[in-house]
């Protein structure tokens, strides 16, 4: 790799080399990217990706090395990729989001196989499908599971009460079990409270319905299946709220205000979404409840920790990972940052079974636990996220520009096909 870069440079830039020589005496990047050598371990994660308190404790706990943590804002994946291209300042431990892990697996050589550091001994402590999600097809573990994203329905109990809808979680779950039931409830809600909508946008429905299935956009033979019935069904369901007038059409940051001022009566999302709600609208504490979501559970999100191959101290890095993600600390992650643990041992711990004051004292494990057990597992190809993107853009076009749904569907499929083809998927 290093050699081909040099050759590349030389064939195209004599002067560039001259600049380099004049400027920095031809300094080349060292394989150990972490500043300070192997006695410092750097950790990158995004806000809410790990519990800040657990991270702070990790810094105190590990005395033989210095743990340096950075919360990276903005587009985490882009920052990580750019830094890895730069081969400098690459962290020893990095978070990887669930929706991104599939695209990193083909480049498994950029990371250290955690099984070689002893991860395989811990495999039994974590959910099988999650473990598999972070592994390559030939069994290398790239991502160590942090959390999973079992989905449920978050709803405003007070607004439901005002609209004459059921308020306790069990009844809500049974009466809003199917998508159509859910949408009808939304019509009632909106009729009683004109300022309140059922959900934020149609994309969230599409995402959820696709996640509730066992196939996605590309099958295990690397063949494009995004034009088939299961996706079409998700598409049509997603547009129902728009047709019924219960869609708030919020696609930007004004969600933060909307969630607090009662413009949104429900949210469909994963367990970690609770943190988004509570930090955006602390004033609504006590008014939200959780119930089993329409159409059954899915997994949305849930992340991993990985060790880039450039790490100078992989052993210490792995010690940090296994400490941060032990069942006890994962339980703390749930309390602090609504990260639903990927280790079943945590589910019986007090942190998980406690009543959540934000949800009016409800024990949310009673909803998320069963949901976690029933999560359907689907194959996610590396090109899946990229191929899915046009569907979301086109849905938003229908939502905000009034584009014809059939035209939007055709455009989404054709764009998805060309994006997939560019990444080597057969269509």
């Amino acid at each position: 790799m290093e050699l081909s870069r040099r050759r590349f440079l030389q064939t195209s830039a004599l002067t560039a080399a001259g600049v380099a020589a004049a400027a920095a005496c031809g300094k080349s990047s060292s394989p150990n990217g972490a500043a300070g050598g192997s006695s410092t371990i750097s950790l990158w994660y995004w806000g809410g990706g790990l519990s800040d308190k657990v991270v702070a404790d990790a810094v105190k706990h590990f005395t033989s090395v210095t743990v340096k943590t950075s919360v990276i804002g903005g587009d985490f994946k882009q920052k990580l990729l750019t830094t890895m291209s730069g081969r400098k300042f690459v962290p020893d431990v990095t978070g990887i989001k669930g929706e991104d892990i599939a695209s990193f697996l083909p480049r498994a050589e950029r990371f250290i196989d955690l099984n070689t550091l002893g991860a395989d001994k811990l495999a039994s402590q974590y959910l099988g499908w999650k473990w598999k999600q972070g592994s390559t097809q030939d069994g290398k573990l790239i991502g160590f599971p942090i959390d999973i994203g079992p989905t449920a329905l978050f709803y405003r109990e007070d607004l439901f009460a005002q609209a004459g809808l059921p308020t306790d979680p069990a009844t809500v779950a049974s009466q809003l079990a199917s998508w159509e039931d859910y949408f009808s409830a939304g019509v009632e809600l909106h009729k009683a409270l004109p300022k309140t909508f059922l959900l934020n946008n149609v994309g969230s429905v599409f995402n959820m319905v696709v996640g509730q299935g066992t196939t996605r956009f590309i099958d295990t033979n690397n063949h494009f299946i995004g034009d088939q019935d299961h996706i079409r069904r998700a598409w049509d369901l997603a547009l129902r709220p728009l047709q019924l007038g219960v869609d708030a059409k919020i696609n930007d940051n004004s969600w933060n205000a909307a969630i607090g001022n009662g413009a949104l009566g429900t949210e469909i999302g994963a367990a970690w979404h609770a943190l988004d709600i509570s930090s955006a609208a602390p004033g609504t504490k006590g008014t939200w409840r959780v119930a089993a979501g329409p159409g059954g559970p899915a997994n949305i999100g849930g992340s991993f920790l990985a060790i880039p191959a450039t790490s100078g101290n992989p052993k210490a890095a792995f010690d940090l990972i296994s400490w941060l993600l032990s069942p006890q600390n994962q339980a703390r992650g749930f309390t602090d940052a609504a990260l639903f643990p990927s280790s079943p041992a945590s589910y019986t711990l007090p942190a998980l079974t406690a009543a959540d004051p934000f949800f009016g004292g409800q024990k949310t494990i009673e909803v998320f636990g069963p949901a976690a057990e029933k999560i359907p597992v689907a194959y996610e190809a590396p090109a899946d996220a990229a191929a899915a993107a046009p569907y979301f853009s086109e849905l938003t076009s229908v939502e905000t520009k009034g584009k014809s749904p059939d035209q939007a569907w055709a455009d989404a499929v054709s764009q998805a096909k060309s994006i997939a083809a560019k990444q080597g998927v057969s269509i």
């Binding site: 985490f76 882009q78 696609n251 930007d252 004004s254 413009a263 938003t396 076009s397």
Partner: protein
């Protein structure tokens, strides 16, 4: 233009064409004797060549390859460009970029002309006005983008609140594809009107007042004086501002990136709902640094460069090439 100045020991400057061989040696020595001058002007060229010129050539080279930054670049001929032509998102981005630029530049230049002529007539407070109007152009674009996003927000922005006072219903500024473009265009206009107005003002003040006097004596109205004297004489300056705003405006990146940055997780191409704010530069950035598709990114850069050239040429014909 000021007079040429020479600091030259020899009586005849310039190069000669018909000299004997000995003269060539003398010439070489002469050229070499100017080494301080060459050295003095060289830093720019060294930096520019290394940092700009060669990278531009490399971009050209990369556009014919497929490269993700790790392995070797793979030669793929024209396939990146072929993909580009069929890439719906690219054309959408190009359309967005052009529309936003038009929405911004045309009103901005008109308003700048009007403001300049108002400033020209204002005898008092002119210093204060100039500072006030110029200030937006020295402000950080990141901060302005954050600010405009907050102010035009559908749920809590002050713009909708003000409209509400006048009984106008809330406008979904940051959701509707057209209003998104309008907001970005407003941002650009706000930032640059003052700057351009003051440039026009300087140009106006260079116009001799006798021209206006003569016209007034001939019975020309204020409007006629403006359109027949001011505008034509300002033409080169107007052309300058149009070209500059073309080159910078068509490369806009910061506004949509900062405004819709957090959407990147759910919508990889970002640019807001319906990608209405996706500019070519932003699309390029996502392809290059989000997908690590350096080859395709290079192809997009080239397309943008050619597009900018095209628009600048159009501007030149429209504004500059008419008279003389």
């Amino acid at each position: 233009m000021a007079t040429r100045s020479t600091v030259e020991p020899r009586p005849q400057p310039g190069s000669a064409h018909r000299r004997p061989a000995a003269g060539r040696a003398r010439r070489r020595r002469r050229v070499l004797s100017y080494w301080p001058q060459y050295l003095a002007v060289s830093p720019f060229f060294v930096v520019f060549t290394g940092f700009a010129l060669v990278p531009i050539m490399v971009t050209f080279y990369l556009a014919f390859h497929d490269w993700d930054g790790i392995g070797d670049p793979k030669y793929v001929g024209l396939s990146q460009f072929r993909y580009l032509i069929h890439d719906h998102t690219f054309w959408l981005a190009l359309w967005n970029t052009l529309v936003i630029w038009l929405l911004a530049t045309v009103p901005m230049l008109f308003i700048a002309l009007v403001v300049a002529s108002m400033l020209n007539s204002a005898k008092r407070l002119s210093g204060f006005y100039r500072v006030a109007y110029f200030t937006p152009s020295v402000t950080s674009l990141v901060a302005i983008a954050i600010f405009f996003f907050a102010v035009f927000s559908s749920q809590y922005g002050i713009v909708n609140a003000t409209l509400h006072v006048f009984g106008v219903p809330a406008v979904p500024w940051m959701t509707n594809p057209w209003t998104i473009k309008i907001v970005i265009a407003l941002l650009m206009t706000w930032q640059w009107v003052g700057y351009n107005a003051i440039i026009y003002l300087a140009g106006m003040q260079a116009i001799p007042t006798e021209l206006y006097e003569a016209a007034r004596i001939d019975g020309a109205s204020a409007a006629q004086r403006f359109f027949r004297i001011t505008i034509p004489l300002l033409r080169p300056i107007i052309l300058f501002t149009v070209v500059v705003s073309t080159v910078t405006g068509l490369q806009s990146f910061t506004e949509p990136q900062v405004m819709f940055g957090s959407n990147a997780a759910t919508n990889p191409n970002s640019g807001g709902p319906g990608q209405a704010g996706l500019t070519v530069m932003l699309y390029f950035y996502h392809q290059a640094f989000d997908n690590n598709d350096f080859g395709y990114g290079a192809a997009i850069s080239w397309a943008l460069f050619l597009f900018i050239l095209l628009i600048v040429a159009v501007n030149w014909r429209l504004i500059g090439g008419r008279d003389r």
